[in-house]
């Protein structure tokens, strides 16, 4: 596959990943603002859960796969690439998987008619914006290539 094609799908996947992570953040903030409203919490949390499972995680994997292909083809190297790749694996990929576990726990509570616990919402509510921030930092490093 040509570099341009790999670059296009790499960037498109990263943009979808940011969009999904930002939407999950918006939904989690809205859930946290309605602590006593179980049906509304379930609606928002379920949407966030599905979005993370069906868009954030696959888009992360696609972005990594196309990025690795691009790296191999262009023989790229540098601190910007090492830091960007590290953030992708450690913060974005692991973060999305941990976020999945937190939201699953929150949904299990709402299925029993209880609101998601404060620790669940705090955990999920801190990971989602961290993923958004990490993607923005990675996009900055990958485009500016400092150093």
């Amino acid at each position: 596959m040509r570099s341009d094609t790999l670059l296009f799908f790499h960037v498109l996947a990263a943009m979808l990943l940011l969009g999904a992570a930002a939407t999950v953040t918006i939904l989690l903030v809205a859930t946290a603002r309605r602590p006593g409203e179980v049906p509304r919490s379930e609606l928002l949390l379920r949407l966030a859960y599905r979005l993370n499972l069906f868009v954030t995680i696959p888009a992360t994997i696609a972005s990594i796969a196309f990025g690795e292909g691009l790296k191999a083809q262009e023989d790229a190297a540098g601190d910007w690439l090492a830091v960007g790749t590290g953030l992708t694996y450690v913060v974005v990929l692991v973060g999305a998987l941990v976020l999945h576990a937190f939201m699953r726990r929150g949904l299990a509570a709402t299925a029993l008619g209880k609101p998601p616990s404060a620790s669940t919402l705090r955990g999920a509510g801190s990971i989602a914006p961290a993923i958004v921030a990490a993607v923005l930092v990675i996009a900055f490093l990958m485009s500016a290539k400092p150093g």
Partner: protein, 157 residues
């Protein structure tokens, strides 16, 4: 870091924000289409505003830093891929804005109905699932992806 690196990074970051806002708005819009209770529809359509803020800031940054980058590199705005990108950016913003207006009216209706018993309404369903805003928002999204295609391949450059 050089001026070029700053302009390029800020241009790309803005493009990420623009598309992320579009994704957020689309997801919440489609979710609202799948619900009947006015309070749920009002909640989901209300959250679209956060996505619109992302998209708005991203759109302005994309065009501002993009023009700065083109000027810094001495690129002529008459170049095919660049003028096509500019035209698509305008199309995307105009269609996105036009597609958002009917949804704002649908949210007002959903908020009113939520306060009047929160019963499903055929009028609200028709407003949320109306084909015109759906087509306008899809077209706006397609225009953004087309801009990305032009930016990556730069045909004719």
């Amino acid at each position: 870091m050089t001026t070029f690196q700053w302009l390029l990074a800020l241009h790309v970051l803005s493009a990420f924000l623009m598309l992320a806002g579009g994704v957020a708005a689309a997801v919440l819009y489609f979710a609202a289409m799948r619900h009947d209770r006015p309070s749920e529809v009002a909640t989901l359509l209300g959250l679209i505003r956060a996505g619109v803020v992302f998209a708005g800031v991203g759109s302005l940054g994309t065009i501002g830093f993009g023009m700065g980058l083109a000027s810094h590199l001495g690129l002529k705005l008459g170049a095919g891929w660049l003028s096509a990108s500019l035209a698509l950016w305008i199309v995307s913003v105009v269609l996105g804005g036009a597609g958002g207006r009917p949804l704002r009216h649908a949210r007002y209706l959903a908020e009113r109905l939520a306060g009047e018993g929160d019963l499903p309404s055929a009028e609200l369903k028709a407003k949320v699932a109306a084909p015109v805003p759906l087509v306008l928002n899809w077209a706006s999204g397609v225009a953004i992806v087309a801009i990305l295609v032009l930016m990556v391949w730069k045909p004719g450059a």
